[in-house]
Symmetry: D2
Subunit: 377 residues, 4 copies
Amino acid sequence: MGMAKAVGIAMVGHAFMGRAHANAIRQVGHFFDLPFELVARVVVGRDTRRVEAARKQLGFVEASTDLAAVLARKDVQIIDIATPNDSHAEIALSALSAGKHVLCEKPLAMDLKQARSMASLAARKKVKVGLWHNYRRCPAASLGQRMIERGDIGEVRHVRAVYLQDWLSDPGAPASWRTRRATSGSGAHGDLNAHLIDMTHFLTGLSFEEVSAMDRTFVRRRQDEAGQVSDVDVDDAMAFLARLSGGAIGTFEATRMAPGRKNFNQIEVNGSEGSIRWNLEEMNELYLFRDDEPVDSQGSRRIMCTDANHPYAAHWWPDGHLLGYEHSFVHTLADFLDCLLSEKPFSPDFADGVRVQAVLDAVLESARTRTWIEVPS
Amino acid sequence: MGMAKAVGIAMVGHAFMGRAHANAIRQVGHFFDLPFELVARVVVGRDTRRVEAARKQLGFVEASTDLAAVLARKDVQIIDIATPNDSHAEIALSALSAGKHVLCEKPLAMDLKQARSMASLAARKKVKVGLWHNYRRCPAASLGQRMIERGDIGEVRHVRAVYLQDWLSDPGAPASWRTRRATSGSGAHGDLNAHLIDMTHFLTGLSFEEVSAMDRTFVRRRQDEAGQVSDVDVDDAMAFLARLSGGAIGTFEATRMAPGRKNFNQIEVNGSEGSIRWNLEEMNELYLFRDDEPVDSQGSRRIMCTDANHPYAAHWWPDGHLLGYEHSFVHTLADFLDCLLSEKPFSPDFADGVRVQAVLDAVLESARTRTWIEVPS
Amino acid sequence: MGMAKAVGIAMVGHAFMGRAHANAIRQVGHFFDLPFELVARVVVGRDTRRVEAARKQLGFVEASTDLAAVLARKDVQIIDIATPNDSHAEIALSALSAGKHVLCEKPLAMDLKQARSMASLAARKKVKVGLWHNYRRCPAASLGQRMIERGDIGEVRHVRAVYLQDWLSDPGAPASWRTRRATSGSGAHGDLNAHLIDMTHFLTGLSFEEVSAMDRTFVRRRQDEAGQVSDVDVDDAMAFLARLSGGAIGTFEATRMAPGRKNFNQIEVNGSEGSIRWNLEEMNELYLFRDDEPVDSQGSRRIMCTDANHPYAAHWWPDGHLLGYEHSFVHTLADFLDCLLSEKPFSPDFADGVRVQAVLDAVLESARTRTWIEVPS
Amino acid sequence: MGMAKAVGIAMVGHAFMGRAHANAIRQVGHFFDLPFELVARVVVGRDTRRVEAARKQLGFVEASTDLAAVLARKDVQIIDIATPNDSHAEIALSALSAGKHVLCEKPLAMDLKQARSMASLAARKKVKVGLWHNYRRCPAASLGQRMIERGDIGEVRHVRAVYLQDWLSDPGAPASWRTRRATSGSGAHGDLNAHLIDMTHFLTGLSFEEVSAMDRTFVRRRQDEAGQVSDVDVDDAMAFLARLSGGAIGTFEATRMAPGRKNFNQIEVNGSEGSIRWNLEEMNELYLFRDDEPVDSQGSRRIMCTDANHPYAAHWWPDGHLLGYEHSFVHTLADFLDCLLSEKPFSPDFADGVRVQAVLDAVLESARTRTWIEVPS
């Protein structure tokens, strides 16, 4: 396939997520055949000095503090949003209005209304939009989706998902924008449950019908790094029950207060004929159980998803060589670029983000009202 | 200590649970020093032929179908109840009225009212009563309790408990008394959540304040072994959220529809300074995480609880030799006998059974009414 | 099947192994259908007071210090040898001469010559003999044998076996008969490698052709419990390479100096089409890999061997309920009794013990001479 | 520190290893602070078309088929050797003669004599040399070395290392240069045992004193991809026993015939006070056991080595985010560059390669002569 042309990408934001996006931008062409050359054109930030340092470290051609100017450029076709949640909508709407393709860090928006406005504008534009729900494209998670889709475990009955971390377990851990509702919307919930919800959508194809939730803030006051003490007004933990379409049920829990759990993002799906289980802390492995094997030989199988037959794995190393966290971003970008100039749909897009946001909002409302809440479709 | 005298035990019921109790009765004196000789005096059943066969197989001196006559005997001091749930109350009340010590299979009763009447009578009698929540006395679970009590993990914040089985996953699995409400009260809930609730009480010392529950029956009609098709009117699965005393929160789930999970009874407790985790499928092992170790050396520790320093282990084999399911019954009986003629309290007793029943009932009501339900204290 | 008659058993020795044998004697009839009633007739020891205490604790009818008198009894048909290694031969030869069936603790003898004399006499008598290589009858190990025999993993190529313990790791651990060659023959080698060798014979059906060995004593002087310091003249560790029949190769290692390893008796067998792996520390589980599954679904399967379809499991509890160390003795005894009065051969018998002893001796000679040594057939 | 200047690197070879090296060259500056700018100046190959394609895919400025011309360039300071084993010596000697720094893929050479000539020339030049024993710099392996060095497990007694793969298990797997002695020197041995030997050196600081080895070729004839059948004259598997300095002992095994083992490169080290264990298939985790903890709490700890306190981890992502195979190459390069222009020694260098080669050769000789062989120092 000939290179149609070069496509330029501009990345807005350059903190943790920006570093992961930038890595994907640099790496994707070295491991995947792209339909065009991808150029890391501009990194956009607020502080001149810091954005220039980021440019150098992250490998962009230019740095800028003027988003409007970047949106006006002809040589930038994709806007990649790696900023905190509260600016996603504004940036995405501007980018869409400027006719750019948009890749946005998850969660899509601060609430359902905002998410819908973004999806609505995207639907009216002739551009591609995508969300960085990168865990979908860990090879083992992708393999789980393939198996469920081809019927390996039958009809889905149970989803059992937890996302456990421990970095706020210590009361001395500092307050930050993540512990204040005004800046973060919610705590563990929006940060971690968003992943569990999207993964459920991805793996099972089911939707959430109604939820009953419970939240908890264990440490109610924290000192920030400047020594100022403030109230923590977001959840440290949020658990919820869910009824899913087709009669399946699910349990979900996110917390930042589980000592010893670093990034324990685990999902188990039980079907009528088998089960799968995946966990980010062992991200290269998928566990599969099938009930159609000889009875004395049935067991849960640990599949190391590094074989050329596994999703994405052939692009990297020989069998048995592990991939890491950032590879999932490279895969996401590779697929997005593969769809960019074609009719192929890319998923998750903003409509998928709306579906996640609808569940996130319903859970928050359930926790607040202490009632079951229907998830709007 | 000298042997005061022989103490006779009569066991009512001789199915699965009866086999486990009888094994404990036969074995306890060979591995534990008892304050008296325990005599397996009578096994009581309904069918003359079958109870005689049980007597022989299980090692009792006599068989009987006349409970009243057994209760009248002077040489029977302990009544052990190993019958289905719906007869616990009647047998226990009669036995208590006859002045016997009573050991009762869990769950204590069919509902809270019944449970309270049993505990109330027990409290008025000068006898010892106990419940066979045997999992408390798996060495690893007992060790977990010891650690939490001595503060190894700080203040409890999270309880995360699941009891997963798969024997009803196949729609062809037959209907039985366990799939009919009239005979079983509930399905996975009463059978499995009872264990999770008691284990939470045991490990944490906390109580349940309120619950929000969701149940599900995936296979609504089953054929029994005689070929008759009937409705399944109990839950295949029951999940619930709980607020516990002291501000802790918990998630709980029981199911018989999780392919590949045979007896996955797992509980994780997160405290302010560490965590423990225990799972019946690896019953000899406890996982411990502590946050006070050198940072670069922190990790979740797999403790094989077979050392002489671990609860009960010194009574069996040298370090590294695993115990099995039935040992937990032997430990329960050993402790009960040790308390029997002394002032030492035995736990769990009927009051503990009432506490479990109160939670079980509240969960059922929550699932029915789709609201949060307070657990009566 | 009707009970032909009662069969009496006398057990010689009553320490750790005696406790495990006695447990099997008491339990076997409660869980297995025996072709006759087994009577725990006599326990035999050297010290009148201690053997009487053992009788009571272990559940025998009588105690005796006079083996000759016991051998002369008509109501004793089986002699069970649970004494230290250096007395196996003398007791077994006497018992065989007296026309008794003999069950002997492993290892069969102190050396190959002695073992051969025992097997030779057994072959001339119309009795059944057996060796307590109990690990063969852990359900998971038995399942592994079944799988290899039916070809599930193809032709055996590799055996990889280790038996790791840590109880002598501490230089302060006391000297005992186990640390002196005169009383124990060897150290970790005879104690632990004997299991690995027998398990290799059992699982693969292959024999050892030649070996190259290396031993090591890390702590050369120890104090015994009386405070006396003496030389340790047995191995703390013994590793060896082996060529097996049919072109397979094996690596073997036994040590008592591996901190954190309590009873890590693990064997992995790689065949031309798959692999199995078993470990005593997770004794209810077998790992199986097969290369004929869909490529994207291949993985090592953890089989919990507690289903009614697994060896021995149907005699105990429902699926998912673990068995412990001592159950393997019950299974051994059940099978032995099942063969006792029939034409069915029991394995392992003394000829099997000779095969193990031949390898043990060859390994010792190899370690001493630092050369490859052929194993006599 | 200011950027002294740009340093140019030329990479010779561009197959699997070249891809891993090139990735490190591209990535190192984005995650580590380098004392200078590293320029991926030239990739060198034999085929004009293929080397140009590699240049593009791997991100070099220029491509060349003329190594001599590259060695003559002033703007190339480092020669990175990523070719098959049989050309390492020639390229390295030329590069050293040209005054270049040299990084060489392992194993250093085809035999000890060759290795010594390389180390000897390197020692006479004022340049830095390094070997890509990348597994040393997996964070978990580096942490293990740190722990042993600071005495966390006491004095080393046992090393137990295996490197198990399964890609030649199928007799239909094609013959290649790897299955012919003329091109590969040996089979699994040189490829895999080289890693185990170097890791033993790295972790323990001990040296190999003597070895006893056994090799095996299970499939003696294979068809190559062109359909030609030839003899396999290298080992499919090589196991050996070793006596190490200070009285420690070790067992080692490499095979390509272990179904289900993809890249099972595991090493366990038992010391007098604890143990560590690491396995490439779970490369982010280190297992640690220490005997100085409270007895009832001792257990093997799984340490997820992704915390900022763990080696290298702070350069990447927040705690709990896994690294993959290729990160170990980035770390190796980062350390090499950090030493390049300073007095800091880099390890492993060619002298370390000589030590590995001496053991490899001794093992081959032992397998051939069936005797214990002393390893020359």
